[in-house]
């Protein structure tokens, strides 16, 4: 029917400094459909949509909308083309009423004041029509997150938008609110609107979308009708990697339990449950993998174990000693090392030299600090030692760490953590964003630690990494451990199903734990 699709974004490229956010992504959207853009955090979904709604301009590529090329310089221009986006972080002024928020930036204040009543009654009318339950005179600050989201959606409808983009709309919603939102989206499509829906949650995509594209590393790797795929296939597409070379390793000989987590609960930063009743054990000489689509509680689990976010219930025991309730610095003094998920945000301090980065947790301990003063020679020696042992490519130990490649930064982080001689090593994302050479190197180092009898827990969204070095793989879904699979590539389908939240009867539930 359509010679030209409703919307086509062709070969969109966008880079920020050295980071490639969009590496030639192409999508086509039909009029009147719900189109889901699926992918892990950082896959490039939001960047692509920010380009479509005029917030970002692409470096390369073109957008064709309703048969005509579209060049946008601002979100206002997008609105003029009837394209609107509801962002993950709401763009509302908390101290203003709904009506006042809608009037922001809509022309001269004097004219607006006279139109206040008209705007307000238009809001009521639209709210009734879509069943959104938005009251124009409510102050935004007093609304729940779900209500604020409906205010945002209604704002887009108020501007007469035909193409509605939603960025991770369910991330902040309760299950009931999610149901309501998905119903609303179906209703909008019946009215002839078109919806693009960004998500990393498979079940929502399956429930509501007509078609789905999977993004990975800034590219669209897979597009299909939702009715012709299943969560397992989508999960595999989301996390798929090139197969790594198999690393030689001996069979695990697990010893005594080093780390035991029992019935652990914690909330995310919005106060919603993120880790729900997780229990697991890690023994000497084994690597336990935690697989899952990102955003299922992995970050919170790691932070809770290290004392960086408060837990609400449960226990974390290291060598039989309770860690729950200890401060991060107290946990740092235990034989517990942690390779954090995001090295730029947490693992290293970018504008400082290697020397000052290798003492991060031990800055006030001997031999690096003597009577409160830093021993610069001891620090430099230690840094040189780590650089040599881990083959970190750096001109000298006093160069700033942001001049190193991601792989070399990660090598240094792993080296620093292993140098603390931990009994237990918690790794959240071992090889994210680093080159193949560095990847194999750090994986081998971690395997060596296993041989040496360390207990290791590896949280990863990259299945190949888990298959390559883990001895068993637990699957986390919506904050729960829902199954265990052996690190056997022939069990990939089973793993994919578990990651999509589908418990299977044949899964060895009995061996869970």
């Amino acid at each position: 029917m359509h010679v030209q699709p409703f919307l086509r974004m062709d070969n969109i490229r966008k880079r920020f400094g050295s980071v490639i956010a969009s590496a030639g992504a192409t999508i086509e959207v039909e009029e009147g459909e719900i189109y889901a853009l699926l992918g892990e955090n950082g896959a490039g979904k939001s960047v692509l949509m920010n380009i479509l709604c005029g917030i970002l301009t692409p470096d390369e590529g073109e957008i064709v909308f309703r048969g005509a090329p579209l060049r946008l310089g601002s979100p206002e221009q997008a609105v003029r083309h009837r394209i609107g986006m509801v962002h993950q972080h709401f763009m509302l002024v908390p101290s203003l009423t709904v009506t006042e928020n809608y009037m922001l930036g809509q022309g001269s204040p004097l004219r607006l004041l006279s139109r206040m009543r008209a705007v307000s009654s238009r809001i009521s009318e639209l709210s009734d029509r879509y069943g959104l339950d938005v009251r124009p005179d409510s102050v935004v600050r007093n609304l729940s997150v779900g209500e604020q989201q409906r205010v945002e959606i209604l704002k887009v409808l108020y501007h007469g938008i035909d193409l509605l983009i939603l960025d991770e709309p369910t991330a902040v919603l309760t299950p009931q609110e999610t149901d309501r939102l998905l119903d609303l989206l179906r209703g909008l499509v019946k009215e002839g609107k078109t919806v693009i829906f960004i998500s990393h949650k498979l079940d929502e995509v399956m429930r509501v979308s007509d078609r789905v594209s999977v993004m990975r590393d800034g590219r669209v790797v897979f597009t299909t009708k939702t009715s012709e795929t299943d969560p397992r296939e989508l999960a595999r597409m989301m996390v798929g990697r090139d197969v790594l070379m198999d690393l030689p390793r001996t069979a695990a000989q697990p010893g005594r339990v080093v780390l035991a987590v029992t019935n652990l609960h914690c909330n995310n930063e919005l106060g919603l449950p993120a880790v729900r009743d997780i229990s697991l054990e890690v023994r000497q000489g084994e690597i336990v993998g935690i697989a899952g689509v990102s955003g299922n509680g992995q970050s919170e689990l790691a932070l809770a174990m290290t004392g960086l976010v408060p837990t609400t219930a449960g226990s974390i025991k290291l060598n039989g000693e309770e860690l729950r309730g200890l401060s991060p610095s107290a946990i740092n003094r235990r034989p517990f090392a942690h390779v954090p998920e995001d090295r730029h945000k947490m693992g290293i301090v970018l504008p400082l030299p290697l020397t000052e980065n290798v003492i991060l947790q031990r800055y006030n301990q001997a031999p690096f600090s003597v009577r409160g003063l830093l021993d610069l020679n001891a620090i430099a020696d230690h840094a040189r030692d780590l650089v040599r042992r881990f083959k970190v490519k750096a001109r000298d130990v006093d160069v700033l760490i942001h001049t190193l490649s991601g792989g070399n930064q990660q090598k240094l982080v792993v080296a620093r953590e292993l140098a603390r001689r931990p009994d237990f090593l918690l790794i959240n994302q071992l090889t994210r964003g680093i080159d193949i050479g560095a990847m194999e190197f750090v994986m081998q180092e971690v395997l060596k630690e296993r041989e040496a009898g360390k207990a290791i827990m590896l949280i990863s969204t990259e299945l190949e990494e888990l298959f390559a070095i883990c001895d068993r793989i637990l699957v986390i879904y919506e904050g729960r451990i829902i199954g265990e699979v052996p690190p056997d590539r022939s069990r990939l389908d089973e793993l994919g199903l578990l990651m999509a939240g589908k418990r299977i009867d044949t899964a060895p539930a009995a061996t869970l734990m």
């Binding site: 970018l350 400082l352 030299p353 000052e356 947790q361 006030n364 430099a380 006093d398 160069v399």
Partner: protein, 366 residues
């Protein structure tokens, strides 16, 4: 970008390096080039401004420099002016390195002045050296406490220190007015001022027949000490990590709250000490408007020094030269003093501009 960000501390590298002298020198050049270029650009812009308003810039600058460096007496006066700027500036280096935007040094200076005056007119009979020590310590402690109020509000209630320190400035300034018109007012005085400090507690002078007191030497020594604190002590390391990346600080087990309180208290103590020295070394009594805005000018001193305490010695002197020079220009060349204030403003703007440029190029956009 919600926060104002301090450019990366290039000098920290050279300290931990143990590198060769040549590498050290090249780093020093790299660290000092931006502020020097910024100052030169600002002076150039000032020259244009002077030319537009009908003055011959070269003559004016010559008058200024010759006047400031005319003789020992004029140099001493300039250094006297630099003393509080350096002291407050090195304290602000610590706060700014911790990403704490202490705009309240002015109020902390007043708090220190009041405490010093109180101790200076009391406790007669103490040995002179002990009394002086008491005055200086009291001033520093009062400044630290005044700043710690803002620090506590920050760590307990997440109140913006920019707002609270500005508000505390007003309280301190009006409190001083109250003291010199009431409890501390000299009996029988015609003007609101405190009693004169006993001669025994006046700070010793370092250059005969000038007003320059030992405060300048103490300021330089403290600049070195603060430098060592920031770049060679573990507590200073913690302060800097908190300032650059609080997530990494928490991961490292650093108490973010403790570092914030420490940094703002140190910065307040330096401002309070500067106030005490102004009382014990220069005015010898407290009155209203005791500070011509040292606490604000010192913000520029710290910024121009890229928050390096040793650099703050030089930037403090530079601002003192501009200050002293501005008076001379007005007297000897009939150049309105406000033009010099404009030039000072340009120095600050170009320094901040350089810092922003450096910051942008050093960081990928989000």
């Amino acid at each position: 970008m919600a926060d104002i960000n301090i450019p990366p501390p290039t000098n920290a590298t050279s300290i931990l390096a143990g590198a060769s002298l040549r590498a050290g020198l090249s780093r020093l050049a790299k660290a000092t080039a931006p502020p020097v270029v910024a100052v030169l650009l600002a002076l150039l812009a000032g020259a244009v401004l002077l030319a537009v308003t009908g003055f011959y810039a070269f003559d004016i600058f010559t008058v200024m420099v010759n006047g400031v460096f005319q003789d020992v007496g004029s140099i001493a006066e300039m250094l006297l002016r630099a003393t509080p700027l350096i002291l407050i500036g090195i304290g602000l280096c610590v706060a700014f390195r911790c990403s704490i935007w202490n705009i309240g040094a002015e109020g902390q200076f007043y708090a220190g002045s009041c405490a010093a005056t109180f101790c200076g007119v009391q406790f007669a009979g103490l040995p002179s050296w002990a009394h002086i020590l008491l005055i200086l310590v009291a001033g520093a402690a009062a400044g630290a406490l005044w700043a710690a109020i803002a620090g506590l509000l920050k760590v307990l209630f997440n109140a913006s220190e920019i707002v609270t320190t500005i508000m505390l400035n007003y309280i301190a300034i009006f409190m001083t007015s109250y003291l010199v018109t009431g409890p501390l007012m000299e009996s029988g005085a015609a003007y609101p001022q405190s009693a004169k400090l006993l001669r025994e507690v006046w700070l010793p002078r370092v250059v005969p027949s000038t007003r320059l007191h030992i405060g300048i030497l103490i300021a330089v020594a403290l600049a070195m000490i603060i430098y060592v604190f920031l770049f060679r002590s573990s507590a200073g390391y913690a302060v800097r990590i908190v300032g650059i990346n609080s997530h990494a600080a928490r991961y490292a087990g650093i108490s973010v709250r403790r570092s914030i309180l420490l940094a703002i208290s140190i910065s307040g103590s330096m401002a309070g000490l500067a106030g005490a020295m102004q009382i014990a070394g220069v005015t010898h009594r407290l009155y209203q408007d005791i500070s011509p805005g040292y606490g604000f000018e010192a913000i520029a001193v710290a910024l121009l020094a890229n928050n390096n305490p040793v650099g703050a010695i030089f930037s403090g002197i530079l601002f003192a030269v501009l200050d002293s020079g501005s008076e001379l220009m007005q007297i000897n060349a009939q150049v309105p003093q406000v033009l010099v204030f404009i030039i000072q403003g340009m120095v600050i703007l170009s320094v901040v501009g350089f810092a922003a440029l450096k910051f942008q190029s050093a960081r990928p956009q989000e």
